[in-house]
């Protein structure tokens, strides 16, 4: 299959390769970009600029040779069924697909997530300074989980009974990389309410990466997280739903989705780092309400407001829902005006999940 493609590119004019690189599906794009990269001309800079969303007139783009726009630096390593996150590197940036599903899904998903951050918010990788994207696949033995270890995104193959391969859902990859972004910004502590806020932000970014990739606006998105990870044994649409927390699954083996959508049902527990994957339903639903009220592509205005709130220096590691909600309102007012319908939508969204957004006082933001 690859040899046929490689042969083909020799007879395709570069302009067609460029078009494939810009408009093709993932695989085509990958292949065309690779084919073009053998041709070290200004064409590559132009395509890369276009892919990175750099708005420049064609002649300007030609002049940008050598001024590389940010590109991901992906490194995928294989834990080979152990818990060693420093296993052999199986695919580096720019290398062709390996044929191993998890490796190639992780590579592609991290690329899509990198593109999301760069093109939607101008953010260059996890730390906004081009941090390499390290992915680890085949972690552990039938390990039914994916996590961010502080430096890398780690994916298990699933147990095959309840959960399948973790790299199969783009929003899982977007979720894990999102934890890196949150850690680099507010550093929300992963426990209790600040932890649930941290979790919610990762669900929001994961969902937005997928929505942008699929070209879905707020009204047509499914707002589900991990819709591909249950095995057929489990009766469930997904792991979580931002649209309707608590309804993603209901199954004799794994029970019912425990997420609340309102502060009235906030769950106090020592499990799950104080219920971070449970109470995240509350801010998740607030994002959904804001995004559908504001309308359009959720990653544009509503996502931008959430991103501004996350980057606000007033958001502290121990901040909870209310602090974030106030900063989201502040961000919406700053971006769109105090009396804007966007600011009103953000206020209403938080009020509707039982989180107050009244005028912040300095003390309420800092005192803990």
């Amino acid at each position: 299959m690859h040899s046929r493609r490689h042969g083909l590119h020799c007879v395709l004019p570069p302009i067609i390769l460029e078009n494939i690189a810009r408009k093709g599906d993932d695989e085509q794009r990958e292949w065309a970009t690779r084919a073009l990269s053998r041709d070290s001309s200004i064409r590559l800079a132009r395509v890369q600029n276009a892919l990175a969303g750099v708005a420049a007139a064609p002649q300007r783009a030609d002049a940008l040779v050598g001024v590389a726009s940010p590109r991901p630096a992906r490194v995928i390593s294989d834990a080979q069924g152990t818990e060693n996150v420093r296993g052999p590197i199986v695919r580096r940036e720019g290398e062709p697909p390996t044929g191993d599903e998890a490796t190639d899904e992780a590579y592609d998903g991290l690329g899509d997530t990198f593109d999301f951050w760069l093109e939607a918010y101008g953010r260059n990788s996890i730390d906004d300074a081009g941090m390499p994207l390290r992915g680890v696949v085949h972690f552990g033995e039938q390990y039914p989980n994916a996590f961010w270890d502080g430096q890398r995104m780690v994916f298990g193959d699933g147990d095959g009974q309840v959960l399948g391969m973790m790299t199969g859902s783009l929003d899982v990859i977007g979720h894990e990389l999102g934890h890196g972004v949150t850690e680099a910004e507010a550093g929300l502590e992963y426990f209790g309410q600040s932890g649930a806020m941290n979790e919610s932000l990762s669900d929001v970014w994961g969902s937005l990466v997928k929505q942008r990739k699929l070209g879905r606006d707020a009204a047509s998105a499914d707002w589900l997280i991990g819709s591909e990870v249950w095995t057929p044994n489990i009766d469930g649409d997904a792991l979580r739903s931002l649209k309707a927390p608590g309804t993603a699954y209901d199954d004799p083996l794994v029970g019912k989705d425990p997420q609340p959508a309102h502060m009235d049902a906030y769950v106090e527990t020592i499990r799950d780092n104080g219920g971070v994957h449970i109470n995240s339903g509350i801010p998740n639903h607030a994002f959904y309400l804001a995004a559908t009220a504001i309308g359009g592509n959720a990653w544009e205005m509503t996502g931008r407001i959430w991103y501004e709130a996350l980057r606000d220096p007033a958001l502290r590691p121990d901040s909870g829902f209310a602090a974030f909600a106030r900063l989201a309102v502040v961000a919406a007012e700053r971006l769109q005006g105090q009396r804007s319908r966007e600011a009103a939508a953000v206020r209403d969204a938080w009020e509707n999940v039982g989180v107050p957004t009244e005028q912040p006082s300095l003390q309420s933001l800092t005192a803990h």
Binding site: F147, H175, D272, H277
Partner: protein, 116 residues
């Protein structure tokens, strides 16, 4: 209840231990194992009691939750109930104290739980 049953053929009251895994990306709570020393042979019960004794459970409960780095790691929740009360231990999968590993491995991989 089981304590009195236990004391009818051994001098120590029983320990009831339960291990649950929570958290992780999917946020599922899964019971991994449980046991009641009253339902084990005398040797097995003694082994478990020694594991619990040497692990220093009250201090570990005090140190809970033992949190790991990053996000979405599994958390192990160990509940130990005995004559000295009930202890709840919570630890990230990358923060399991060495002294608890034998007990956790026994509960995870070992024999069926006490309601088998």
């Amino acid at each position: 209840m089981s304590a009195s049953r236990r004391s009818s053929h051994r001098c120590n009251p029983s320990l009831r231990i339960e291990l649950t895994r929570s958290g992780g990306y999917a946020g599922l709570a899964t019971k991994l194992g449980e046991l009641d020393t009253a339902e084990l042979t005398e040797n097995e019960a003694r082994d478990i009691e020694e594991l619990v004794q040497s692990a220093g459970v009250p201090a570990l409960a005090e140190a809970s939750p033992m949190q790991g780095k990053g996000a979405d790691r599994f958390q192990y929740d160990l509940t130990i109930e005995g004559p000295e009360g009930r202890h709840e231990l919570a630890m990230s999968e990358d923060k399991i104290p060495d002294e608890l590993r034998p007990l956790i491995d026994r509960l995870k991989g070992g024999r069926p739980g006490s309601d088998a």
